[in-house]
Symmetry: C2
Amino acid sequence: MSLDAVLSRIDADLDAATDRLKDLLRIPSISTDPAFKADCDRAADWLVADLQSMGIEASKRATPGHPMVVGHIDGPGPHVLFYGHYDVQPVDPLELWDRDPFDPQVEDTPKGRVIRGRGSSDDKGQLMTFLEACRAYKEETGTLPCRITFLFEGEEESGSPSLVPFLKDNAEELRADIALICDTGLFDSRVPAITTMLRGLLGEELTITGPSKDLHSGMYGGPAINPIRVLSRIIAGLHDAEGRVTVPGFYDGVPELSPEVAEQWRRLGFDEAAFLGDVGLTTPAGEHGRSALEMIWSRPTCEVNGISGGYTGDGFKTVLPSKARAKISFRLVGQQDPHVIRENFRAYVKEQLPPDCSVEFHDHGASSASTMPTDHPAFEAARHAMTDEWPDPAAYIGSGGSIPIAGHFQDILGMDSMLIGFGKDDDQIHSPNEKYDLESFHKGTRSWARILEALKVT
Amino acid sequence: MSLDAVLSRIDADLDAATDRLKDLLRIPSISTDPAFKADCDRAADWLVADLQSMGIEASKRATPGHPMVVGHIDGPGPHVLFYGHYDVQPVDPLELWDRDPFDPQVEDTPKGRVIRGRGSSDDKGQLMTFLEACRAYKEETGTLPCRITFLFEGEEESGSPSLVPFLKDNAEELRADIALICDTGLFDSRVPAITTMLRGLLGEELTITGPSKDLHSGMYGGPAINPIRVLSRIIAGLHDAEGRVTVPGFYDGVPELSPEVAEQWRRLGFDEAAFLGDVGLTTPAGEHGRSALEMIWSRPTCEVNGISGGYTGDGFKTVLPSKARAKISFRLVGQQDPHVIRENFRAYVKEQLPPDCSVEFHDHGASSASTMPTDHPAFEAARHAMTDEWPDPAAYIGSGGSIPIAGHFQDILGMDSMLIGFGKDDDQIHSPNEKYDLESFHKGTRSWARILEALKVT
């Protein structure tokens, strides 16, 4: 059977595949920082060349921001759209990395071999599992089992400003029978997963201004309002004593879990103590009366992602600053409306401003939560295909992270998505020393070969 | 009479004196930032050379930090120690400066001519008023009216770590009949002042650690404790609804103003609305029921001088950070004990830490408040000498800023201090676009000539 030959070829090709991934990881394609614009472009070129090397028609498409990469190849099965992103998160604080984040290397660790470097897991390593599966399939059989459209984005880590216009402008070209999105994780190292619940994300930046300029805290401390103190009070008030978000109307549209899903999640045997212990914690800090898995997969949150104001360098400066700033994000679930929540948040902040303070808001994007239709036949086909590859049966799970692309595919292209990925909780994505398990890369590639084979006959 | 000739020489020499000050201002002697170590050294060398050019015996003295400059010259009157500091504050945010902070220039403004540049008022312009008075006096008369010891420090803006050991090691050499400290301001442009009440200062930096590393706010937001939120809650709790500091025991040793001093301050006719209006404010934000002048001169405060945590660059990063940091200072009055307050503050913070959070503290120095003995004959002599120079009589005032040197002179050298300076509230010291009025520089120099002449016969 040809699938076995494809899988054997994937096994034989692992070292070369790893080298290809390392090539891509060397490109510092940090999308949020304008200093890396040329590198983002270079990563797009690399993907175009890689697709073309497999005989896939591919091109780089300009956007007002970083380019998209689009590829097409025909095949006998249904038409699938594969999505990944080639941009990566910033690397600061750089001093916490044990190696240059853009000099990737395979390392032996107590938990197995890993590929270390920024983007290894999020999302270059993941998207390359699919490309390597396609490569092996094509080389072994001369064709691909499905008609495939490839879409690689370069702005996923910076709010995807060009994505919606691009999908709208190219809807006919991109619409397929189903989308495959590779930007999620395994449930654990034995249980692969299809993510069927995604939280939405709302990003806000607020800048509070008090005095018209920075002041000396000796000459003005006392009578002059301090915007750091004002901002701290607002942040402190965003959660009540039960850990619930206090923005008015925040819980409108937040559903309770159905008993079936709650039971399915209980059966997963999520190890809350290990999950927290891995990052030095012992006690769930969020909403009282909710399990950690609920908090991450099915409850909305509000987090402060950054704060700054006054003098933050070495030493001490007795400044009473004019401005203080915070970046705040909300993770959304169910039917929560990001636009209503943004307005309610802004009104809530304004109501709490003392005299002489003003606030400016900066919108860092918004997306609703998504829930996937697991009754679509592709879901069970894919779940069985993955079950064949991994020790334990594949599961339908939720995700704390926000992958707005699935909602956009639904809204703009009228297309459902299967979110399948091979990341692990300890991959340290968005953090120093990001890694991707070599096993994730290898079995991920094998999984895609199995899934494509299974989809061929759906 | 020789004083008139000295004053005329000061008038004639103003342009050359301004050029000398600009030379000193060009040296970016930012003491808190190790990148400017060589510049601090260069500023010290400049002062040694300037003293020597007047026939004053002078030398640079090494310390574990930036050097001290010490000079000596004999004279018929009492022995005075003159103190100033040659180091300056950092210049960030640089983008708010209208010119290079280290390319000083004389500018015409609607309020008169000013010398613009970092350190123009704090403290290079101020210390040069005294040197220019000495230069004119010496050039005109061939001698100086008092025996003078000069002490210039290079760490005043970074907590003065070397000062106390240096004073102890050189007590015999530095002890004088009285100290003259030039680092304070006029009451207003008509009323010169001797500052007789100084607030103390306590600097603390705290770093709160939650998770052992930076996390993805999607994967961990909810169950993982966020140190920015913890820090915000602690800061928000540092003041009660009446604007009073909540650290236990904080108000121990805080005296109420005597009716005499309160009445004297009322007579000064301080324009609270103008003071606040100058910096874009309308409403005193501090302790309820206290005037702005009380808040600055005779009440203790707690301010946040800097805060940082998470991602603070351009764009957005959905990080849940491991650490958050704040720089907090307390201004102290009366008999408040900075060491007790430091311990109480640290205990207070620790008590409020939720599970899984730890805190580290960094001590940024401490000094007690000082009150000067205005019954010492030098005070009235100096007050009358200044009254001769300015439109309205000189006043005894308080100061919101902290000048710990006066306390150290008292404790280590057993010597009282007169704090006389010519800065103005709108000098923007510690802020972008710092300036020193040319009138402050000119009449300040003339004031010192008068004061030295008056002290000669005390």
